[in-house]
Amino acid sequence: MNCETCQLKELELEQDEIKDVLRCILHTIFFHRTLTLVRPKDVDCDLFEITYVQCGLPDLEKEVDEKINQFIAWVEKHPNRRSQVCLSFFEDKNKNPSWFTNKTERIYWEQWFINLHVASPKGHGKSRSSKATSIGGKALEEARSKRAALGLLIQEVLFQIINFANEKKDHIPAISDRIFNHEISIPSSSDSVFGWNVDVLRRVLNS
């Protein structure tokens, strides 16, 4: 089975925007790939004028939030870097079953790469240290327009997800009673400069 991959557009954001952005993107992907009965739930982003849809599965929401918190913790230790969060869907298959071994192998059938560039808050410190209030007001205006632009970019990413999810459907396994096996990979401390998970790289090369 081919593993379809989708590289989403890179988003430049600040630390306090990570949660909103990742929740929005991850849940949208899950909503498209959870083909079991769902209870759609509209959720408004805190910082953007965007409403996305969750599947209404509390366990999934918890899992997503935990991963996002881990990612935020990693970002705090590695500020101002490009990073990637990868959502992979896979099937477990028995690999060479025998009397002695019962290894299962993960066969990835789809991967979504969320590319982020988290700007460090210190990077904006110079502008904030300016004395005049007019410059402070300008910075606020700048922040607002930046956020609005990011909101538009997020919408583009969501449409990107929609397009990909609809164009690539042949590789999706049969619908089961639960959501597909998946994992959310975040950069680990031992990763390279770009924050790419070595395992993810290996899988991409092997697919």
Binding site: H32, R39, E49, T51, V53, N163, A165
Partner: protein, 550 residues
């Protein structure tokens, strides 16, 4: 839950005729589901704040494409629209128009759902052959993803924010949002076409043809400059409880009110100023839009049912006629259907039998008969039934996706499906359908969120506003309940049964004199004065508030 699996080369019975039957069922259902998904977030109306709880069960027909539309559910108007046909495209125009009428309707979104049939002469071609050979469950799976995309896109496009703003309670805007549903639409002008962006979702190939969904939309609605017209206007309620216009004394038998002055006629319909929280109070002009008569209290947002056919149907929210018109007075906001009949909230038990065997002013005795008692009960019921004269409110089940007017009588897919098998077993009789899932019907609506029989909602709504008037009414009820019976059971042959039930307690009320009746009259007069005084102070407060705000 039943499973669907992709078996290569199609399922048993899934190819050829059986697959076509499945597609013939699936495609119209997709049209319908898409239509309801669009209208759910493009027909502004007060939305229930409470989200359905995870434990709330989902109706069987809502499980089509594994996407129940319950948050928010489609508007009631959706139930009156004709069921889309697979042969005809479905076009939904969403437009904005200035409030109060008189302005042009500008289409901000146009959704098109169609099944493009395979070319007749191309049966041998690869695409047609692929369509015929496709497993219907594979197409169904793809339809699930497509519908998810439509659902998501509906919330990303700019019209969604306008929809949310217009749904906000307590505010009226300078624009209204409406929709038109039909099988064709007037083409856009060149300028309009140029201003619109288009998104076309990847089609799904079925045995009937290619299922295509596309949307043309204005990328920005900033030009409309949505502004709040006015906040909820201060309402002066002239026929509140205790007012001369609504004298509760009128409701009681003549024996009690013989000495009272003639009261003005009790209005047959009056606004229920305390029961309705009026989530969406509007300017009088907009009231005409959203509630058929200006005096309507609970106005269904349902427009007049459009005529069936290929014509361009207009289903504008707040059209002049509504299937369910609840006469009332004064306020005509669009009302949440879950609001209970406020009469229920004030349901009075039948008054205790009253002994009217007192003397009238002219000295003649007054004998209360069961007929008289029954009349009194009816009058009292009339007193409160004349408050919001609400016709039968539909079960809340209807709000959550029950499109009984649209679905066929069976309401379920017609193809059977075995859970233990990945193959579709086709049934061509009229039994309830299991395709593409075999699930039981849902629990009664009481278990569903927002469907607690409506009474709790009504009680909540009544308690949340106009508490002092509620207290006044409650006081009146208490007085009535604790009033001594007037009936003279010994003189009436019809009361023998009642007499036996009441036993010795009635013996003390056997004889009732005129003086007792007058005492009671006095007490009722006191109540009336009390209520009047309270209402006056309330009126004063509301006037002061409105002056302060203006």
């Amino acid at each position: 839950m039943a499973t669907l699996s992709d078996s290569a080369g199609g399922v048993g019975g899934g190819g050829g005729g059986g697959g076509r039957a499945g597609a013939e069922l699936m495609v119209p259902q997709f049209h319908l589901k898409a239509l309801h998904a669009i209208l759910a977030v493009r027909a502004p109306r007060p939305l229930s704040a409470a989200a359905p709880s995870p434990a709330a069960s989902i109706r069987r027909r809502d499980r089509w494409f594994h996407l129940p539309l319950h948050a928010p559910p489609p508007p009631p108007a959706a139930e009156h629209l004709p069921e889309p046909s697979a042969a005809e495209p479905l076009v939904v125009d969403v437009y904005l128009t200035p409030s109060g009428g008189g302005g042009t309707e500008e289409v901000v979104e146009r959704w098109t759902v169609s099944c493009e049939p395979w070319p007749a002469g191309a049966r041998a071609s690869s695409s047609a052959a692929a369509g015929e050979g496709l497993a219907v469950n594979r197409a169904y799976k793809r339809c699930i993803t497509l519908l998810r995309s439509v659902y998501t896109a509906l919330r990303i496009l700019p019209a969604y924010r306008v929809f949310r703003q217009l749904c906000a309670s307590g505010q009226s805007y300078n624009y209204e949002m409406g929709f038109r549903v039909g099988s064709f639409a007037a083409p856009f002008t060149r300028a309009e076409e140029k201003a619109m962006s288009t998104r076309r979702f990847a089609p799904v190939e079925t045995q009937l043809g290619r299922l295509v969904v596309s949307v043309q939309y204005l990328p920005s609605l900033a030009a409309f400059n949505l502004e709040i017209c006015s906040l909820a206007p201060a309402m002066l309620i002239t026929d509140y409880v205790g007012s001369p216009a609504a004298d509760p004394m009128r409701a009681f038998p003549a024996s009690l009110t013989a000495a009272s002055s003639s009261a003005p006629a009790f209005p047959p319909r009056r606004p229920n100023s305390w029961a309705s929280p009026a989530p969406w109070p509007q300017s009088p002009v907009q009231q005409a839009k959203f509630s058929p008569p200006p005096a309507a209290l609970y106005a269904s947002p349902t427009p007049s049912p459009p005529t069936f056919g290929g014509g361009y149907l207009q289903s504008r929210l707040g059209a002049e006629t509504a299937p369910m018109v609840i006469p009332g007075g004064g306020r005509g906001p669009v009302h949440n259907r879950h609001m209970s009949d406020p009469v229920r909230g004030f349901m009075l038990p039948p008054p205790s039998p009253k002994n009217t065997n007192g003397n009238r002013p002219d000295g003649t005795e007054v004998h209360d008969t069961p007929t008289e008692t029954g009349r009194m009960v009816l009058r009292m019921a009339d007193l409160y039934a004349n408050l919001p004269s609400v016709p039968k409110i539909k079960d809340s089940r209807d709000e959550y996706g029950r499109f009984s007017g649209v679905f066929s009588s069976s309401g379920s897919p017609r193809l059977g499906f075995s859970r233990s098998s990945s193959r579709l077993s086709m049934q061509d009789d009229t039994d309830d359908l299991d395709f593409p899932f075999a699930v039981d019907d849902v629990d009664p609506p009481d278990s569903r969120p927002g469907s607690s029989g409506g009474k709790d909602v009504g009680d909540q709504a009544s308690s949340s506003s106009h508490k002092s008037q509620d207290a006044a009414v409650g006081y009146l009820v208490h007085m009535l309940k604790s009033a001594r019976p007037l009936r003279d059971s010994s003189n009436s042959p019809h009361t023998s049964r009642v007499e036996s039930v009441e036993g010795s307690t009635t013996s003390s009320f056997m004889s009732r004199r005129t003086s007792d009746a007058f005492e009671e009259l006095e007490s009722f007069k006191e109540i009336k004065e009390n209520l009047l005084a309270r209402s006056r102070s309330r009126m004063q407060e509301s006037l002061d508030k409105s002056l302060r705000h203006s």
